[in-house]
């Protein structure tokens, strides 16, 4: 097992017991165990408790705007497709304010990994409903209970074209590390939705709740879309593991502009625009 402290940077200030510590540890281990060089990894985040994660892993990081991690990550990948690009955000960032980018990133299938820290609550702003909060849940922005049904990120990811869709649980560290490793290895857009324990703002999804409900997937057929969606829709338990994986061309493979050299390494010192001007003559 890798010593994740090799990638330490700074000291996180998350609440004691927060699932973010576990996700950070799993991420560091995954990067180290895959033998990735820190300078070739970019961790892109949005805004939220968990989005501060890139300050605590010694790689390149981009801490952008709420909801916009995926477009930034996509731009980075297209500019330099030799990099390992990992976006990490909370559930509000991913499925609320950034929902449109999520849908289109799934169908775009760039070779990037998206880890969502899904604690079903807005924690940094101290306890409002999120897109994955269960119906009826009382939060300080929904004191009389949430009226909407929650989003199912796994089913949504599968249906909108993500080519690797998994669910992890923050307090199953080794299992989560393996999922993140496989997501990074996967060629295409990989989603790892992490059920995350929040000790401060979510009094419903306690460690006991997760212990009772989380169940590891075994023996499922990851190439069967129908089965994957059925499993994602299960109400009695919260299955964790890889639901669905399919091999298909990535977005960048469709761009001959970068088939040989990443954009960032192409020479721009003397571009001849003669051909472009021809049609204006």
């Amino acid at each position: 097992m890798a010593d994740e402290h090799k990638l330490d940077r700074g000291t996180p200030g998350w609440c004691p017991g927060c699932g973010d510590y576990m996700i950070l540890a799993a991420l560091k281990r995954a990067v180290l165990e895959l033998g990735l060089k820190p300078e070739n990894v970019v961790v892109v985040t949005g805004i939220g408790c968990g989005s501060k994660i890139n300050h605590f892993i010694k790689t390149y990081g981009f801490e952008g705007l709420h909801g916009r991690a995926l477009p930034v990550a996509s731009g980075i990948k297209l500019a330099n497709d030799e990099l390992t690009v990992i976006a990490i955000t909370g559930d509000g960032d991913a499925y609320g304010i950034g929902g449109n980018h999520f849908l289109h990133s799934c169908r775009r299938n760039l070779n990037i990994t998206y880890i969502t820290q899904d604690n079903s609550i807005y924690a940094l702003t101290k306890g409002q409903t999120s897109p994955t909060s269960s119906q009826g849940k009382k939060t300080n922005s929904t004191p009389f209970g949430v009226l909407e049904e929650p989003i199912n990120p796994i089913a949504l990811g599968i249906l909108t074209g993500a080519s690797f869709v998994a669910r992890g649980y923050s307090h199953e560290l080794e299992h989560l590390t393996e999922l993140i490793k496989n997501a990074i290895i996967h060629k295409g857009f990989s989603l790892v939705n992490v059920l995350q324990y929040c000790p401060s703002m979510n009094k419903q999804n306690t460690l006991e709740f997760f212990k009772e409900n989380v169940e590891k997937l075994t023996g499922n057929n990851i190439s069967d879309k129908g089965e994957a969606i059925m499993l994602a829709e299960r109400k009695d338990k919260l299955p964790i593991g890889l639901f669905y994986q399919v091999e298909k061309p990535t977005y960048e493979e469709g761009e001959p502009q970068i088939s040989e050299t990443p954009l960032v390494k192409q020479d721009i010192s003397n571009v001849d625009i003669g051909k472009l001007l021809k049609k204006f003559e």
């Binding site: 952008g64 330099n80 449109n100 192409q266 571009v271």
Partner: protein, 568 residues
């Protein structure tokens, strides 16, 4: 001075814009004449009323004219809408409609539809009319035939032949008819005919732009599509994104990773990009944003022109931060200043806004083929940062050395939060002030490097333009000079940082500000930046550009009467 304006009009979808531009204007240019075209059209795919004016001059021409010397009318509506403007003749389709023309207008009625159908398709109507128009102004069909061959050879020889025959039929139809505007072929130079958006595309490619992410919005769309059309020739990734939020953030991601990246939009899309603009400023990431203005607010008038977004560009997003706002005034400036924009964005690690408008984006000028190259400057990118690298190091010029991902020891977080030199969130009072000052320091450094605007002409009055009104004012000076009169013209191509030397130039002079908005936003800027009084404002905000003849009257009016404000 030999100057002539053709107008061609018809419903959307009838091909008037393509025929006017691709056939008539190009033929004139290739005969050694100078050309300026202006298109007016509603936001429709079919129907409505589209028209294009093509002003042709033996000397340089900088804008359209309000006088129409020859009108080609494909429908009756075109005649009804523009009869008042015609000083010359009308070519109209006698096989589709009848009109009664005043005696002083030369009647060049031609059965355009009938002739076109004889050669195989009603679509050749425009070609018949263009053939006739060329003969009337004394040009032969040699260049047009070449153009038709280039344009249609992909569609087959039959289409080429039919078009040429249709042009010849029109040419023959007006044989022996007299027309007071005659041109002779001049020695041709290496010239190109293109609009502001085309020139931005050329400038971006020349500058080594490798990435554009954008969402279509009139009148900026052709920057996106223009780059898409050459993306594989020049290895540029063009991403039509899900929305403008993605556009700006993707471009910022690409800029952070080290490529020259841009986006384009109009005011409505820019509104969605405002938060991203702030991100680029705070995180100090280079990005070029093209904003082509149209009248608003809200959806406004998609296909009309205006300059109402200046204050928005200067102030968009939260808090205060320096941003570069460059407003090219003509096609040449679109090409050159786009290259400057990429240099400034990378050298100063900052967002740069290129502010155009519909008039500039869609008006074509014949110019010398672009040969001027702006030297590419990529700023402080370090490849060996050493231990203890500081991404946001405070330096005398305000610019910190930047590392690109994949550079060992350069690992850091590029952050939209207020951060210290390391890039770590830091809300201490001292750090906040130091970083805020640092961002402004970069701007002071930049202002020192930028060229001062030039004062052209003579006289007590200084007419000040920004953006696309430049060409109109230049044309007005031609009108004044013809009458043995003159004024000074000051054109401001860079609006932020406010150029040096303006105060000295305008001090004690009488200023006449010309712009396409109601509140004279440039006047506001000049007063704030120089403390000088603005004496006169000539404004137009009906969604159309000033006609030079009308602006000339406006300027004479304020000079004679001392009026503070004239609305055209």
């Amino acid at each position: 001075m030999n100057k002539f304006t053709l107008m061609i009009g018809g419903p959307a979808g009838s091909g008037v814009l393509n025929a006017g531009l691709g056939m008539f204007a190009k033929t004139c240019m290739r005969n050694g004449l100078k050309v300026f075209t202006k298109a007016e059209y509603p936001s429709l795919i079919r129907g409505g009323h589209n028209f294009l004016t093509i002003t042709v001059d033996e000397e340089n021409v900088y804008s359209h004219s309000n006088e129409v010397n020859l009108l080609i009318a494909l429908d009756k509506l075109t005649v009804e809408n523009h009869l008042d403007e015609v000083k010359g003749g009308i070519i109209y389709d006698t096989s589709s409609f009848t009109v009664e023309l005043p005696e002083e207008i030369l009647n060049f009625g031609i059965p355009l539809k009938k002739i076109a159908e004889e050669y195989g398709s009603v679509l050749y109507r425009n070609t018949v009319a263009i053939g006739a128009a060329l003969r009337l102004i004394g040009l032969d069909l040699t260049e047009l035939e070449k153009i038709i061959t280039e344009k249609f050879s992909k569609k087959g020889q039959e289409i080429v032949d039919s078009n040429i025959k249709a042009a010849k039929a029109g040419y023959d139809f007006v044989k022996g008819r007299q027309f007071p505007f005659m041109f002779v072929r001049k020695e041709t130079e290496n010239r190109i005919l293109l609009n502001g958006n085309d020139a931005v595309v050329a400038g971006a490619v020349k500058a080594g732009c490798k990435f554009i992410s954008a969402y279509p919005m009139t009148p900026a769309t052709s920057v996106l599509t223009g780059l898409a059309s050459v993306s594989r020739d020049y290895n540029i990734i063009v991403k039509h994104t899900e929305d403008e939020l993605a556009s700006i953030n993707m471009a910022i991601g690409a800029g952070f990773a080290g490529v020259r990246a841009m986006t384009c939009t109009s005011g409505g899309g820019f509104a969605l990009m405002a938060e991203g603009l702030g991100l680029a400023a705070q995180a100090e990431v280079p990005v070029v944003i093209v904003e082509s203005q149209r009248p608003g607010p809200g959806s406004g008038m998609a296909t009309r022109t205006g300059q109402g977004d200046l204050n928005f560009m200067l102030n968009a997003s939260t808090d205060e931060f320096p941003r570069v706002v460059i407003a090219p005034g003509d096609v040449n400036e679109c090409y050159e200043l786009t290259q400057l924009a990429f240099n400034l964005a990378e050298k100063y690690q900052t967002p740069v806004i290129l502010l155009l408008d519909k008039f500039l984006s869609t008006s074509c000028s014949s110019v010398h083929s672009f040969d001027k190259k702006v030297k590419i400057e990529r700023g402080k990118v370090v490849t060996e940062p050493g231990e203890n690298y500081l991404r946001y190091k405070i330096t005398p010029d305000g610019v910190s050395p930047r590392t690109l991902p994949s550079t060992p020891l350069g690992e850091h977080v590029t952050s939209s939060y207020e951060h210290n030199e390391k890039g770590v969130e830091d809300e201490s009072k001292e750090n906040r002030v130091a970083m805020h000052n640092k961002r402004y320091k970069k701007f002071e450094t930049m202002a020192d490097e930028l060229a001062e605007p030039k004062l052209i002409g003579e006289g007590e009055f200084i007419v000040v333009s920004w953006g696309s009104t430049k060409g109109i004012v230049r044309e007005v000076r031609k009108i004044f000079n013809n009458d043995g009169d003159d004024f000074c013209h000051l054109h401001l191509a860079v609006l932020s940082p406010f150029p040096k030397g303006v105060f000295e130039k305008i001090k004690g002079k009488r200023l006449v500000i010309v712009e396409n908005n109601k509140t004279s936003q440039l006047s506001q800027l000049i007063v704030i930046q120089t403390g000088q009084k603005v004496d006169h404002r000539i404004l137009k905000y009906d969604g159309r550009q000033f006609d030079p003849e009308i602006l000339a009257d406006g300027i004479r009016n304020v000079m004679a009467t001392g009026k503070e404000e004239v609305v055209c």
